[in-house]
Point group: C2
Chain length 341, copies 2
Amino acid sequence: MLNHKRPTIDDVARLAGLSTATVSRFINGSAVVSAERAAKIKAAIQELHYTPHLAAQMLASNKTRAIGLLLPTISGAFFAPVLRGVETRAIEKGYSLLVHSTQAQAQNAAGKGTFKKILAEHNTDGLLIFAASVDATELSRLHSIGFPVVLLHQASPKEFSLPAITVENKNGVRALIDHLIEDHQRRRIVQLRGPENHDDTYWRDLGYRQSLEAHGIPYEADLIETGGFNTEQARQAMRRILTRGIHFDAVFAGDDESASGAMMALREAGWRIPQDAAVVGFDDLNLAEHLTPPLTTVHSPIEQVASEAVELLVKQIGGEAVPAETLLPTYLVRRNSCGCS
Amino acid sequence: MLNHKRPTIDDVARLAGLSTATVSRFINGSAVVSAERAAKIKAAIQELHYTPHLAAQMLASNKTRAIGLLLPTISGAFFAPVLRGVETRAIEKGYSLLVHSTQAQAQNAAGKGTFKKILAEHNTDGLLIFAASVDATELSRLHSIGFPVVLLHQASPKEFSLPAITVENKNGVRALIDHLIEDHQRRRIVQLRGPENHDDTYWRDLGYRQSLEAHGIPYEADLIETGGFNTEQARQAMRRILTRGIHFDAVFAGDDESASGAMMALREAGWRIPQDAAVVGFDDLNLAEHLTPPLTTVHSPIEQVASEAVELLVKQIGGEAVPAETLLPTYLVRRNSCGCS
DNA sequence: CTGTATGATGTAAACGCTTACAGTAAGCGC
DNA sequence: GCGCTTACTGTAAGCGTTTACATCATACAG
């Protein structure tokens, strides 16, 4: 395929009149090399356009200098910040990034287990696992072989402990619903829940319940639907709610993308936001600010979760201990969709 | 780090009472192995939980089974479909995906050239290069060594030919502006241009000019600003336009994200869309439909470009010839922001 | 029965690097 | 001058695969 046979470390060593060991040490900075020879090596590398063969480095050093990111699916506005956070920090730490969406794989005939072959042990030094992308069995296996792993937006299984990082879902939602109740006198608040296999769903629901309870408002099953953290699903969920003909004066959409869907459904039905119903989300994605009216939501440091996760992973790879659970703070962002001005 | 020393192909061979060559052939299906021994090998692999060491395979076979995706930056709603398209098709083809944002790298002290080390020749079998992520020198080098490359949303340099794939920018914009002029009688149409180093910018501008010209409308520099294919930049660009106090009755925002920013600026200034000014975008991202009013735009098959690009790359890797230029069709999507109902 | 394909398997040499180990030269205290 | 560090540098043995080549049955034509 390639025209030129690529230069190897031997070529560089020969041209510089030195041994491969010295060249290797210079390249990796793994030992001091005299200035004079360093210059020669540098020149030789330049001249030959030499780049180390990573596979060879991996094989010899038994390190891949790569981390894997496992996602359930790549879609929605949510994953851009995740990816950006992971990528930036990974590069910074000198790792390259292998991305794998487990959903694409599941649809594929090659099918389940593929990701193991592609990402697992041999190919990465560690794995970043996003909520709902890997099943418990596999997690358990990874844990049992002591493979470095960090869970994102997902709690560690009870049976064993894997470091997990996510945001303050419960308190964030608590503040959000409190605001709706206390500052805008809303009492019948629809909740569009996220996917059932998602930990964020659980905690957000808990925050919702706690806020209601604190204000003496009963939890009503009629006001609950599944929005799936997804615009289209949320839109349909909202339509179902509307069909029920029940009274409500606010909607907590689960996340911002769902809020967008909920708004559409409401508007289709002629509702005014926030007069007829306040709508609030969670995440504070870029789009939140651009909705009409601008969305009141909870700011979630998604990108920071991602880069912090890389940090934790790299620490683990280096053999350091890391906290079992990391929770990044969230805070309420008041815009207009709740009735604030 | 890992508890168990992992089994090698030798272990498998020993357990099965065969040679490593036979095991290797069985694993890769690179030659026929008698049914009897195949069974033995399979059993041995199972028993040992053997998985091939990819670095070793790469080194020995000189293939990585990985492709690299180079992006200028990972942000905005635009990259999610790109990534999804690439990822899905890559897996399908049996390749893993290395993602690298060249901007993150540029900011990094380690600095320029890093990506070469991480992604280039040795680590991937081919590269997908998104507009503006790699400079001409590097492209030229890749071309000169015959390394498989596909350019996305970027034309091939004139000096040499690299396969490129993008969408019908010019005709798409042409249809869009024609619509504004012919169906909505707009004649003073602001254009928010994309980044200057971006080919899409050039072609979209050309479509804009051609449409004006065809309708006998002069091209006015006053109506042009740089939106940078970016919400915030576009918002500010729009504000500058408003400050000029010039008359206009429509805005072609360059892309959908810019359209969102333009809408915000217009609304801030008390303009009604589309009555006071029509606003149109390009791409037809998810968000287009969710803006208020829903955005008239040009549908661009972003995900398809991405997956087609993988297809082209894999063909090249396999030694097949591929077309120098691929243009995927776009079409006008009329929603309300232009005045349609 | 010999000669020759044919098919399945084994042997061992790469692949390009890292790194343990073994020098070697220079500096220093005495 | 001697021995002991200190500071580099070189030699060569892996790392776990693939694969060209050799080998060895077996089958089949003549």
